[in-house]
Symmetry: C2
């Protein structure tokens, strides 16, 4: 299959990721941080190395401030619910994923107010609009780094500056960018960074994490065994233990480390350059095809390698079905768990056909996708 | 290494578990339940098959009532916090793990009262004591199926009957038994069953789950994209989507399915018989060694394959360190994240040296462990 669904999860992974996971499982598949024997210690070291690699990638000074979660959603929930209290106000945008919008909707019942800043029809945010929504109760600003529907890249450094200036916590959902775009939590004044492990960081599914800046008070969502302070019935306050109860996904996390190592070795700028080139070519050629509507910036400099289109008024699911069945091309149709983004770009009824590229996407993959789209256009 | 730390996580796993995980990752590592292309559908089917296998093992009528979590702790927190409300009373025991005790301790602040029923010095619970603690606010009874410190097996069917008679929800922590001991949620009247995937169910770390009986109202802990009802900002009520936001651990869950298939193929009674035999031999021989104190029932019929000992007054960490360094035997010392259990058996200061057996433990492993213990006894 020509896999163009990397925004859902990257596939395939680098060979070293598979190898790392198998090595953990077959050679030292013990429980880290619990027992003190050599296999347990090796597993613990492996997990710590992943924290270090991620710290290097995101310029995080203390690796212990990275909390491993089962996916980005898990990290977003942890941080959103652990920070906000009744009476607080939060600002977010209309391009967010349900992993941000649904927790905020659930918190409304507890008296937490949300302002959703409307983006324009290409999914772009106005930084001024965010600033205009700040009030004295505003505790948190949450934005995506890039839309999972249109790829639209947000000016997170500018938003971080506004948050910083107003003493507001800034949380970034890096689901579509971590591993491809530069993220520097210091320079960009990001206080909370939620990321999936299984997308552009090239780790396996079942991994993700959240960085929490030192000093930000976040309540844990769950308690349990941490392998530390086992004599106490209360959850330890030290990081990452406070947020990492229970046996971690050791092979997954160490596999994620191998993914991050691959990125550091190859150079994130080289990965980004390749994906940008592919996206640019795809957009340029798409623009030439009659009946194809492209959403978002339509500019590889302004969007992550996510391209949403429609063909005339054809249902996005139907088009995706044909791409799969007839052309063996895997994409994702529908609303992509981001209903307000589709209202923003005007596709709430039709959905979009989303092509998302990855580091292993080839020029030939794009050519075949274009050919398939042309074929479908000619058929209708 | 002679690995006798299976109560922390089982190691190794059956070859088919490794194969299943690699096959998912290399052949169809797409995001299940999101996109509609063939790889995504295959991943979704694989996850459903694991639900079916677990349903067969635990006699669960509807596989959709199984929620996948990242470990047992995650499932316990979800169910405990999703069920209990201010004013509720919950009964648990002094042999529980911190994955039960710490969430309950945290809930005290919200006005949820916990009665901790004291077990005897072998870790045995009196069913009558549980019944005597029931009051009109009692909403939930939570017990382990077998202690992770002493292996003591709890009479969960009897407790289930009491809960049922009194219209109280019964939650079982099957961390030490799932995959070795018979668990039948209907016959045993278990309403909530939390299990790790990575212990005796032989799946990888990063997996676990919780069964929630139809009709029990449990609030979700997190919201996010579910691949269903994506047009709505509120979390869908349908199971398992309500509780499974974000990308699941597809390779892990399908690997867990391979583990459960291995158990079903081999016959859980055969696995149990082997582990019982090993435990019996180990206990019988340990009893002959001077200075060795064995905790718990000291009876393979009454305990899971978990054997806690001490050698004289030696620190449990020191003994475990020697077992690892000198004899290449991996065990776990200390409190095993179950402080009240150690208070119950009188080892809160010293901890215990815990040997935990698995399906791949051999007679030779036990012989070597015994020999090492004798050596240590002779040295001190």
């Amino acid at each position: 299959m020509i896999y163009l669904d990397n925004a859902a999860t990257s596939f395939p992974k680098p060979e070293k990721v598979y190898e790392a996971i198998m090595s953990v499982m077959k050679d030292y598949g013990a429980n880290p941080g619990r027992s003190g024997h050599k296999l347990a210690l090796k597993a613990g070291r492996g997990i710590y190395e992943t924290r270090e690699l991620l710290s290097k990638l995101f310029n995080i000074s203390n690796p212990m401030n990275i909390i491993f979660t089962s996916n980005a959603t898990d990290g977003l929930n942890l941080a959103i619910k652990g920070i906000l209290k009744p009476g607080d106000h939060v600002i977010t945008t209309s391009m967010e994923h349900n992993s941000v919008l649904r927790p905020l909707k659930a918190l409304e019942k507890l008296g937490i107010e949300t302002s959703i800043v409307q983006c324009d029809s290409k999914g772009c945010i106005s930084v001024q609009d965010i600033e205009d929504n700040i009030n004295e109760d505003t505790k948190l600003i949450i934005t995506t780094h890039a839309s999972n529907v249109t790829g639209t890249i947000f000016p997170i450094k500018e938003i971080g500056n506004i948050a910083d200036k107003n003493n507001i916590i800034y949380m970034v959902d890096a689901a579509q960018t971590a591993g491809v775009y530069d993220i520097d939590v210091e320079n960009m004044k990001i206080d909370i960074l939620a990321f999936p492990g299984h997308k552009s960081l090239l780790g396996p599914q079942g991994t993700g994490g959240v960085y929490i800046r030192e000093g930000i008070d976040v309540m844990q969502m769950k308690e349990g065994g941490t392998g530390s302070k086992s004599d106490l019935l209360i959850q330890p306050e030290m990081l990452p233990d406070k947020f990492e109860s229970g046996t971690p996904n050791t092979p997954g996390i160490i596999g994620l480390g191998a993914g991050v190592q691959y990125i550091l070795d190859k150079g994130i700028e080289n990965i980004r350059k390749h994906e940008k080139n592919m996206t640019k070519y795809f957009l340029d050629e798409l623009k030439k095809i009659e009946l194809v509507r492209i959403y978002g910036p339509c500019d590889a400099e302004k969007q992550a390698p996510v391209v949403s289109i429609n063909i005339g008024d054809e249902d996005s699911s139907e088009v995706s079905y044909i791409l799969d069945k007839v052309f063996d091309i895997g994409v994702r149709p529908g609303l992509h768990c981001a209903p307000l983004a589709h209202k923003t770009i005007g596709t709430f009824e039709q959905g979009t056909v989303r092509f998302s590229l990855g580091t292993f996407t080839t020029h030939q993959d794009i050519e075949k996708a274009l050919e398939a789209i042309k074929n479908i256009v000619n058929e209708i």
